[in-house]
Structures are given as C-alpha cells and as structure tokens.
Assembly symmetry: C2
Homo-oligomer: 250 residues x 2
DNA sequence: AAGCAATACCGTACGATATACGGGAAACGG
DNA sequence: CCGTTTCCCGTATATCGTACGGTATTGCTT
C-alpha cells in the first residue's frame, strides 16, 4: 500500500484556510458541505479502515452521487489531508502543570487520538498538511519547551524529536491495541504465523541475544503491553535527556 | 496511499525462510528467480517510487509476462514484505565500541538505508515481516543494551523505543533529503505552498510560540537540516535517558 | 523412443478504483 | 422570463491487482 494524503499542497491549503467569502446566494444550493464530507469520511475510515474509504462508498454514505464529491474536493488525496488535520484538531491541548506534565499530556492525548482513528497510522506523517491542527500542536509543544532555556534551534529540534517519537509510538500502540480489528487483515493469521515462527523456524543459535531475552522473560507480555512499555520508557528517557540538556545550559 | 506490505503472514514466512528443498529438476526451468524479482522490484522502487512499482512494470523490467511473477510470489503484498526484509539485511551490523557506539552506529546505518531506499517510509513499520533482516536488527540492539544491567522487560522496551524513534526519524530525514526527487509529488509545489502559507496565511497572534520561535531564528535552517538536528538531539536525549536509568539500577 | 508428470510461462478477462467530461437541474438577479 | 451562476451526477476511461486456464519445456519412466 502506498501512503494516503499529500495532495497538491496548494489546494489543500486553500481548503484548510478558507477565505471568509460569503456565498453569493446565487446558484444551486449544496446538498452536502465540505465539513460533512470530511466527517463522513472519518466515520467511514474509523469503522472500516482507510482502504474501505472509497469515493463510491463515501458518496453513498452521504446519499449523493460519487462525482458530487469532486465539486467540494479536488481529489482524494486532499480529502485525506483534511481528515488528518481535522483529527489533530480533536486534541485537547489544555495547558497545565510543568513543561513535562504538558508533554506527557500531549502524549496521552495522541495515544487516545490514534485509538479513535486507527487509520492515522496509514497516513504518512512526513510533510503533513499545514492546517490549524498541526499548528496548534506545534505551538503547544514549543510553548511548553520554551521554558527550558534552550536555544531556539534546540527547542525546535526537541519539539520535532518529541513529535517523531510520540506519533510513531502511538501509531504502533494503536495498531496492537486494535489488534487487527479493522486493519483489513485477519489477526488470526498473524498470530498463527507468529506461533509457527517461534516454534518451527526460529533458530536460537543464530540470534543469541533474542534467545537470552526470551529466556529472561523479556517477551512475557503481549505485543500490546510491550508497545505500551516501549512508549512509556521511551518517553521517560527522552524527556529525562532533554531535561538534562536544559540543566547543563543553566 | 494506503500502505503496502502486510501480505498473508504465513505466505511471507514461507518465502522468507525457504526450506532447503532442492529443485527436483523436473519441469520447466525458471526464467526468473524470486531473488531477482525482489531485486528488480527494489531497483524500480528506488528509481521511480513505490507507487510506480506495479506488477506490469516490474514484469516488463525483467522481460517476463506479468502473470509469471505470480508463479514465484503469492501477491504484491508479500513481495513488498520481501523487499522490506531484504532492505534490512543490507544493514551493516558490525559490533564495535560501547553500547552507545553500537546504537549510534545502528542509527547511522538506518539513515543510510532510508537514503538508499526512500520507499521504506511508505511501508508501515508496524507488524513487520519476521525475516532474517528484522531478527538480525533485534538481536543487535538487544545485545548492545543487555550490557546495561536493566531488567529483561526494560531492555526489551528500550530496544523497541529506539527502533521506534530511529526508524521514524530516519524516514523523516530521508523524505526531506530526497526533497521530493522521486516521491511522486513535485517538491516545487510544496515549497511554493510553504512560502504562500508563511507570507499570506499564517496568523502570528494565534500561534505566539511559533511566532516567537520564528523570531528567535529557530526556523533558520532548511527542513532537511532541521530534521537532521531533531534526529541527533532526540537520539542523544533518548540514550542519555536510558543511560541514566541504567545508572540508577546499579 | 514415446509417453507422463511436474513445473513454469503468460494471454485474456474481470472487478475495483479514481476521476475527466459534459450535460442537466436549481437557485438568484434583472 | 431569461441569463448566470452554482452545484449535481451518469457515463466513460485508464490503471491496478490478480483469477483462470491453456501452453510450453524439462526430466523421468517404461
């Protein structure tokens, strides 16, 4: 599969930041609005996965003809961009507590977001749409980190690294939590394959460190628990490291 | 859009770990081998992007009929799985120096890998194919981290968190380094949109922290440089944090 | 030498998908 | 009532992945 999103960025921008031009009143009144299309697309992707979100099905779920969608959106890629920014706008970015509390709050919110919208992990996070959702997130993180006394470049890099880690970890965690419920691929197959792999194929002699970790109980947890632990430990370590850098500056 | 990879995991396993059954000699001799198909697919994706790697074009590049590919591979998803593991097998995992040196070596190798195979960022890293490449990587990381004296669960979580961060950061960096050279989307558009955005749309009053960071020169660097800085700083912080955890255990 | 079994090759056809095109319908102002 | 504007949507096309079934080429057996 490819990645979704990343339509013509100029088109996407125009849709994300609509100029407040009032409708002239002339012409046929719309049956659907852009907002409703995006909302319906998200609902469809939430329920059946991103692959099932086809223009045909989306139009049907709105009770309109397929080509009607193209009066409101230049193409599917731009629509996915809008879905992504709309999702980000759901984040509760209330500020409270120390910078660290704020970052951890962001991490939790991000987890919940991926839980609600599992399709987010199927959309590339590189070169995201420059919408209000993304900007609000950046603003939140930069504000939280700016209290640390790092240089502007370091603050920016720290923010980016947090975004990178948290997004990736949340996506992984959501994948395992949802456990293929919707992912378009039967989870039983995956588990069966995993079983077969460990019992039949895995060669302990060739991968001693893995064997050792297994023996020491490092893999006793379910994949979902393991992902959650990796999320927690990684975030803690990352923030500890950033805090230490700030300490050094003072 | 969508993500590639994630074919039937059982089929993929069978292909990743071929049993050493010698060909009987009977039957028509193959014109192509699985290895050649995977190599050609990677070359095609390297040059023209993953979206351009269609079964038709792949077959043509091998001088074979399209359906011939299906004698060697159950489907495209499985083929992408094989490409991914094959890419990971390119990592040079020579061990030398401290645990930290080893992790940093891994990070550099991973960067180079994404540089060579930009399409990797379009393939989901969740639930990766359990092939030799993935196992070698896990073994390398677990071995490096096992010297720290953490518990087995912590070691495993630390390894996972490093994988999460490094993969995501390397993918982001490669995206910006390649600068749309091949990504299937003209980079000029993106830059133009970015320009327009900052000059026309961005509202400083609404996003004070971003405005402040901009004013302080936090965005003076190119996106590629910024991504590289985020990679460096994030990895440093993450490893500092893990080292501190290990310190505390002793 | 002739038949047979096994294996690989591949042309054709089908269903799914995004979307270009162009005509038709509904509202408004004049 | 007519022209203009805006939106709706049926039809058609190009691109994919791949199911199906027939064909070609080899070694083995007799």
């Amino acid at each position: 599969m490819e990645r979704s999103g990343d339509g013509d960025p100029r088109q996407t921008l125009r849709l994300l930041w609509p100029s407040p031009q009032a409708r002239s009143g002339r012409g046929r009144p719309p049956k659907v609005s852009l907002d409703k299309i995006v909302a319906a697309a998200m609902a469809l992707a939430d329920r059946d996965g991103l692959a099932a979100m086809t223009m045909d099905r989306l139009a049907a779920s709105l009770g309109v003809g397929t080509m009607t969608l193209y009066t409101h959106v230049p193409g599917k890629a731009e629509l996915v961009d809008l879905m992504v920014d709309s999702a980000w706008r759901e984040l509760d970015l209330t500020r409270s507590g120390s910078w660290r509390d704020q970052i951890e709050h962001y991490a939790k919110q991000n987890m919940a977001l991926h839980e609600r919208h599992p399709w987010l992990r199927n959309v590339s996070t590189v070169r995201p749409p420059l919408g209000p959702g993304l900007l609000a997130r950046s603003d939140f993180l930069l504000a939280a980190l700016s209290t640390l006394g790092l240089s502007a470049a370091e603050t920016s890099a720290a923010s980016d690294s947090i975004v990178t880690f948290v997004d990736a970890a949340a996506a992984t965690l959501a994948e395992h939590t949802h456990a293929g419920r919707v992912s378009g691929q039967s989870d039983e197959d995956w588990w069966a394959a995993r079983q077969v792999f460990w019992e039949t194929i895995f060669d302990p002699a060739r991968y001693p460190a893995i064997e050792q970790a297994w023996h020491d109980g490092g893999f006793n947890r379910s994949p979902a628990e393991a992902a959650a632990n990796a999320f927690d430990l990684g975030l803690r370590a990352l923030l500890d490291g950033i805090a230490a850098m700030a300490q050094r500056v003072r």
